[in-house]
Amino acid sequence: MALVNVTINGVQVQAENGALLIEVAKQNGIEIPAFCYYEGMSLQAACRMCLVEVEKAPKLMAGCTLPVAEGMVVRTESEPVVKARKTTLEFLLSNHPLDCPVCDKGGECELQDMTFKYGVGESRFTEIKQHVPEKQWSPVVFYDAPRCILCYRCVRVCNEGMGVGALGISYRGVNAEIIPSNGDHLECDECGSCIDICPVGSLTSGIYRYKTRPWEMEHVGTVCTHCSNGCKTTLGVRNNEIVRGNNRDKSGINGEFLCVKGRYAFDFTQHPERLQTPLIRNAAGELEEASWSRALKLVAEKFKELAGPDFGVIGSTRTTNEESYLLQKFARTALGTASIDHHRTGDVVTLIDALSGKTGQLATTEELYTTKAVLVVASDLSQQQPLLANKIRANVRHHKAAVYAVTPGPVREDKIARKSIRVPEADSLAGVEQLREQLSKESELVIVFGDAIQGDKVRQLVAFGESLGIPVKYIALVDYANSRGALDMGVLPDLGPGYHATAPGRSLQQMLDDPKLAALWVVGANPLKGGKSLASTNAFVVVQDLFLTETAQRADVVLPAASAYEKNGTVTNVCGQVQRLKRGIETVGSKADLAIIGLLARGMGVNLGKVDADAIFAEIAASVPGYNQLPMPVILTGGAVQTHPVNGGVPPSSVPGIIASARDTLFTTGSLTRYSKILNEVLEKPGALYS
C-alpha cells in the first residue's frame, strides 16, 4: 500500500494513500469531530461537523469523505474551521429541545460533549422551535424527533449492520424524521442497536428510559448469559438492579453488537417468581420454604446416603466453567457415580475427534469477519447465532467475503450469499456437495454447522472440507452461554475434563429412563421440560435453579441459584473462546452454584479444596488441556482467548447420548427467557426459524 505525506496542523504524517482524512487524523491523535461519520458504516457527510481547511481547496472540506493524497495540507483548528464548527452546532441546537436535565442521554451525549468542547454558550434564535410528539415504535424503542440530529446512524446500523433495514426517513427539510419502514411500528430483531448508536437522546430504550442518570450507575463488563456466542455486555447497575445492557466501549469479541437478549433480557433477574429461599417437600407432598441451613443439611445427608453408581447428575449449559468442573469432580469422586451429563446441543466432540492430528482448525468469532469465504450448514444463524451472523454480514460489507448457505428454509444470509441451497436438514451433506466446485475455488473457508450434522456426518463434512484443497476451519454450533464449557469440563457420561476417557455412566436420557435411579441432582437445567417425566418415581431429586421449572416442581429439595449476572467465573463460547464473568448484582436468598456445591461438600465432610472461582480456575488451568496456556491478563481485562482442546483423538463413546439443539429463536433461550418480561413483550408471535 502506497504511503503519502500529509501535513495536519503543521505536523507531517504518513498515511495510506486514499485513507479517509478523519481516520488519518485520529491515528495521529487529532480529533476531527463528527456525528454522522461512523467507523464501519457507509459514508454520509451529512452533519458537516467535520469540515476542515485544506490548502488549495476553494471551501472547507468534509474530513469524513476526503481521501488523503500526497502533499495535502490540512488545518483542523484554524479560525474558519473553528467558526464553522460553532455555527454547525448552533444550527444543530437551533431546534434541539435542550431538555438535557430529563434526557436519558444527558452525561453521555455526543451532542452535549461537542457543544461543551466546540460550541458557543448561548443561542441567537428567538423563534419558536418546531415540536413533534414522541413516538413509541415498539415496547423497547421510543423516538423523540426534536432531539434527532438526522445523522442516519440508526438507519445504517439497521440496514448494514443488522441486515434488517427497518428504518428510513420520511418527509423532508426540517420536517424530516426517522420512521420505521412499516410506518408506525417496528418489525425487526428489536436488537436496540439503533438506540445504542444514537449520538443524542432521540432513540431511547423502553426499559432504561427515565430510570437513572448514566453517572449514577456502575458499569460491569461481563458476558451475556443467553446464547452460545458469548457477547461481552456492560451491565449498568444501579442500587443492585441491572437497568441497562450495552457495550458502548466496543470491547470484547462483539464490539458494540448485542441482540435483543443481550441488550434487554437481563430482567429475569428481577422476575417476581425468582426463587429466593430453598424449598423442601413436606409430609403433605408440597414444596415448603425452608432455611438454607436446613435444606443443605438435608441434601448433604441424603447425598451421603444415596452416593453410588445409581446417583444421577445433570449439569448445566449456563453455569461457569468452574462450576461445571467442580460438579463433575464432585460427582465422580465424592458421589462415586459416572452418570453425569448435560443437554448437549451440538457435536463438538466428534468435530474435535475428526480434526485430531491437525491444529488451528477451530475458527474463532473474529475469523468469521476476516475469512474469505463462509459456508453455513443447517442453521438459521441470524436467529440462533446472532453475533456470528453479524460478523459474516460485516465481512461481506467490508471485505466482500463469499457466503454460501445450505439450509432447509430461507435465511437472512440468502441476501448476501453467492449461492443458497435449499435441502432438508437430513440431506445437508448432499447440498454441501453441490457447492464443491465453487468452494474449491475459494482461497480459504470457514464451515459453520448446526446439530443436524452430528456423528458420522461431522466426519463426512470434515472429509469434504479437507478434500477441497484449501485451508478450512470449522465451528460446531451449540446453543447456550456455556454449552461449550460443559463439554470441555467433562460434564459427560464417558469423558472427563479435556475429553479424556472415564468410566462410562448413564447419559441424560438414560438417567431419566432408569427406574432404578436413586437420586437425581440437577444443576441449572430443566430436563423435564415439555411434559417429560422421571422413570424412577422414588428418586430423591435436588434441583438448583432460578425458577420453579418443570424439573424443580418434581424436586424434593429446590435450592435457589444465582444467575450468570450474579457471579464471577469464566465461560467458553461456541468458538471455544474463554471469557470472564463479573458479578453485577446480588439477589437476596440465592447462592452461586459453586458455593452450593462447596457447602454440600462441606456438609458431607468431603474436602474439595478451596472453593472459589479463582482457585478452581487455577485447578482447571493445571489439569484441563486447552485451558493451561490461557494468557490471564487478556481474560482478566475482559478479552477472549480461544482454547485449544486435545489434539490426539477423542475416545469413542460407548454411551448413546442425544445431541439436539433446542431450536431457539432470536427471542428465546430456554427457561431464562420465559421469565424475561421484555422479551415476552416484544415477541408478538412465536418466532420461527427459517422464515
Binding site: A46, R48, L60, F91, S94, N95, L150, Y171, R172, N175
Partner: protein
C-alpha cells in the same frame, strides 16, 4: 401549438426555430426542418469527433452550473464493463425558469436527437428523461414523440439502418426541487429518496445504477443537434469566447413582454430587458434584476449594464445560472423578495445536511418576523450571518442557492430592512444584559 410570447426580431433562433410551427412536436415537422440530420451526420463520425465538435462549440451546461459540456462528455470512460447511460435532467424547478418546458413542448424530437448524439459519443444504449412531476402534460408529449421515433426507426435497434441501438424512456419526479441536483436525480431515478450523493465518484464514472452516465440538462442536449449541423466552431462564434452559442432566457417579472427568448451568449442585459422585453412595465424605473434563477444574487439596476455571458455576470457578482431572468420595478419590497425566495428553499430543502435544513428554516422564520414588523436591528445582522454560515458548508449546492440571494439582498438593500425595523414599536437596539 401556440407560444406564450411573440418572437422578437432580435432573437437568434438556433434551437427554438421550430417553436410555433404547426405541429412542431410531431416527427413530420421535425424531419421537414433539419430533423435527425445531425444524427445521420454523427453516424458517420467517430465518438471522438463528436466530442471534439461539442468541445469546439464552447457549449456550457444550461442547467445552471455552466460546466463545459464537451469536457463532461469526455469524462465518461471509453471502456466500461458496465452499460453506459444517458440521463436528461428535465426537473426544471429553479424559480423563474421555464425554458426546458418549451423545448419539450414544442420540439421533443430535438431533445431525442440530442440524446442520440450523446449516446453515440459515449457509447450508451439506454437513456431516461427525468421530468419533474408537475410537468405531467409534458410527459405525454415526450412519450408520444418517443413512440414516433421508435416507429420511424430513430430509436430502438438499427437506428437509421446502422448498428447503433438506443432505448429512451421518460421517468417522472414527484415534486422535489432537490431532484434537479444531478446526484439526487439519479437516486430518485433509481427509486430511492431524492437526496444527493457523495462525490466523487461523479455520474460520468458512476451514475445511474452505478454505471457511467452522461447527465445533462434538456437545453444542453437540445443544443447538440444544431452544433453538429452547423459545426462546433460556427456555433461557438455565435457567442463570446468561453461561452459559445445561444441560450434561452426566460424573462419574467415587471416587464412589458415577458417570455422565453433565444439570444447569443454575451447579449447585453439591458438591451434584452428594454428592447426584447419592452422595458419595465407601467413606465416605472428598474430596481433590480435576478439574472439566472432565484438562487443567483440579484443585481441592482446600476449593476445591470453588462453582457449576458457566464463570465461577465460572474464578474458582477451573480450567475447566469438557469437563464431565469426576473425583473423588479422600483416598487418592489426587497424584504418580501428575500422572504419569498427563502420560503421556497426552506420548503425544498431535502433535510440531508444540517446547515441547509436548519439554516433555511431559521432564516425563513426570521425573515417572516421582520416582514411582519417585529424585527430587531440585530436580526438584520443575524440573517446575513446565518446565510453566510450556510455558504459553502452544505452537502449540495441547495444551501448555497438559498444563501446567495439572501446575502446579496441584505447587503444591497439593508436600508429596507432597517425601515422595517424602524416601524416596529417594540424594537430595541440592544439586548439588556442581566448583570
Amino acid at each position: 401549438m401556440k407560444l406564450f410570447n411573440e418572437p422578437s426580431p432580435l432573437e437568434t433562433k438556433i434551437i427554438s426555430f421550430r417553436f410555433g410551427l404547426e405541429n412542431s412536436a410531431s416527427i413530420d415537422t421535425y424531419l421537414a426542418n433539419d430533423g435527425y440530420k445531425a444524427l445521420r451526420k454523427a453516424l458517420e463520425m467517430t465518438p471522438d469527433d463528436i466530442i471534439n465538435e461539442v468541445k469546439a462549440s464552447n457549449l456550457r451546461g444550461r442547467g445552471g452550473a455552466g460546466f463545459p459540456t464537451g469536457m463532461k462528455w469526455s469524462f465518461v470512460p471509453r471502456a466500461s464493463e458496465k452499460p453506459k447511460y444517458i440521463v436528461v435532467n428535465a426537473d426544471e424547478s429553479e424559480p423563474g425558469t421555464c425554458k426546458d418546458r418549451l423545448l419539450i413542448q414544442h420540439d421533443p424530437h430535438q431533445l431525442i436527437e440530442g440524446c442520440l448524439l450523446g449516446a453515440l459519443a459515449v457509447g450508451a444504449k439506454k437513456g431516461w428523461i427525468y421530468i419533474r412531476g408537475e410537468y405531467n402534460y409534458l410527459i405525454h408529449i415526450m412519450d408520444k414523440a418517443i413512440a414516433e421515433a421508435y416507429n420511424n426507426g430513430y430509436l430502438g435497434k438499427n437506428i437509421c439502418g446502422s448498428n447503433f441501438e438506443f432505448d429512451l424512456y421518460t421517468h417522472t419526479g414527484a415534486g422535489a426541487y432537490e431532484c434537479g441536483e444531478e446526484s439526487a436525480l439519479l437516486e430518485s431515478l433509481e427509486g430511492k429518496r431524492g437526496v444527493p450523493r457523495i462525490r466523487p465518484p461523479f455520474p460520468a464514472v458512476s451514475g445511474a445504477f452505478q454505471s457511467p452516465t452522461l447527465l445533462n440538462n434538456v437545453e444542453t442536449f437540445s443544443s447538440v443537434p444544431a452544433i453538429l449541423r452547423m459545426g462546433g466552431q460556427a456555433y461557438a462564434d455565435l457567442g463570446v469566447p468561453k461561452s459559445g452559442g445561444t441560450r434561452l432566457v426566460c424573462m419574467s417579472g415587471h416587464v412589458n413582454k415577458p417570455g422565453v427568448y433565444e439570444v447569443p451568449l454575451g447579449f447585453p442585459l439591458m438591451k434584452f430587458v428594454n428592447e426584447i422585453g419592452g422595458g419595465v412595465w407601467k413606465g416605472r424605473a428598474l430596481k433590480a434584476i435576478i439574472p439566472g434563477g432565484s438562487s443567483s444574487p440579484l443585481l441592482k439596476a446600476e449593476e445591470c449594464d453588462i453582457p449576458m455571458d457566464y463570465d461577465s455576470i460572474a464578474k458582477a457578482g451573480s450567475m447566469l445560472g438557469s437563464g431565469g431572468l426576473m425583473v423588479m420595478d422600483e416598487t418592489t419590497d426587497m424584504v418580501k423578495v428575500a422572504l419569498r425566495i427563502m420560503r421556497f428553499y426552506q420548503h425544498e430543502s431535502c433535510g440531508w445536511c444540517i446547515p441547509c435544513r436548519e439554516g433555511t428554516t431559521w432564516l425563513k422564520k426570521m425573515l417572516q418576523r421582520v416582514s411582519d414588523g417585529h424585527g430587531q436591528t440585530r436580526d438584520i445582522d443575524l440573517i446575513g450571518d446565518l446565510a453566510q454560515n450556510m455558504m459553502g458548508r452544505t452537502f449540495c449546492p441547495l444551501g448555497d442557492a438559498a444563501a446567495m440571494p439572501t446575502i446579496a439582498i441584505v447587503k444591497k438593500y439593508r436600508n429596507e430592512f432597517e425601515e422595517y425595523v424602524a416601524r416596529n414599536p417594540f424594537a430595541s437596539p440592544e439586548l439588556v444584559s442581566i448583570a
